[in-house]
Symmetry: C2
Subunit: 114 residues, 2 copies
């Protein structure tokens, strides 16, 4: 994987387990064990996923006694979205075209039904 920031962010998001972890953290901070609970994979595997998310800046971590709490940091998601914004105009216009197309189809169908 390339080591530029956006690549690291997208690569971190390219795993469903990691996206699920982010979804869980959106509901509140959690320890490693809590985060691991819904998954059928080992604790070390979760630990690695957290490291990936941390390196992408998507989570921050704090220690309290032997527990390490993770919390969501959505800033990289904003960065990723900013990058995609360049294409928004593109997809909006495509949608307009698709929408118009669908409307024409509908009109045609209605005519055929009469």
């Amino acid at each position: 994987m390339a080591d530029d920031r956006l690549s690291v962010i997208f690569a971190a998001l390219a795993d469903p387990t990691r996206r699920a972890i982010l979804a869980r953290l959106a509901e509140g901070d959690a320890t490693v064990t809590e985060l691991a609970e819904p998954f059928a994979i080992s604790l070390p595997a979760i630990s690695r996923h957290l490291k990936v998310l941390e390196q992408a800046g998507l989570i921050t971590r704090s220690r309290s006694a032997q527990w390490r709490s993770s919390s969501l940091n959505p800033e990289p998601l904003r960065e990723a979205t900013v990058w995609m914004e360049r294409y928004r105009q593109f997809w909006d216009t495509n949608f307009d075209r698709l929408d118009a197309h669908l409307k024409r189809m509908q009109t045609q169908t209605e005519r055929n039904e009469k």
Copy 2:
């Protein structure tokens, strides 16, 4: 890599060469050779990148004689953004300002094009 749709999309975006190809295609369709030109990598490597982008649905391809033209399909970017929208509420308050800024930019661009 997991084979769910979002994972495939994010994985496709996790490579700077592929993102550069998308950026180029935003300016208009191009052949494989044209797309390869800015990069110091071989044509087969570009061909593979295009395959990855195609499988992610980010480009569509057409053939005319011996040239294969690629064109941007931004729909998967919309999907990725939709996924990220869930986290928008967590984003930096600066984001609202940025978003407003981007919207203004777009409106301005649209005006300029008329």
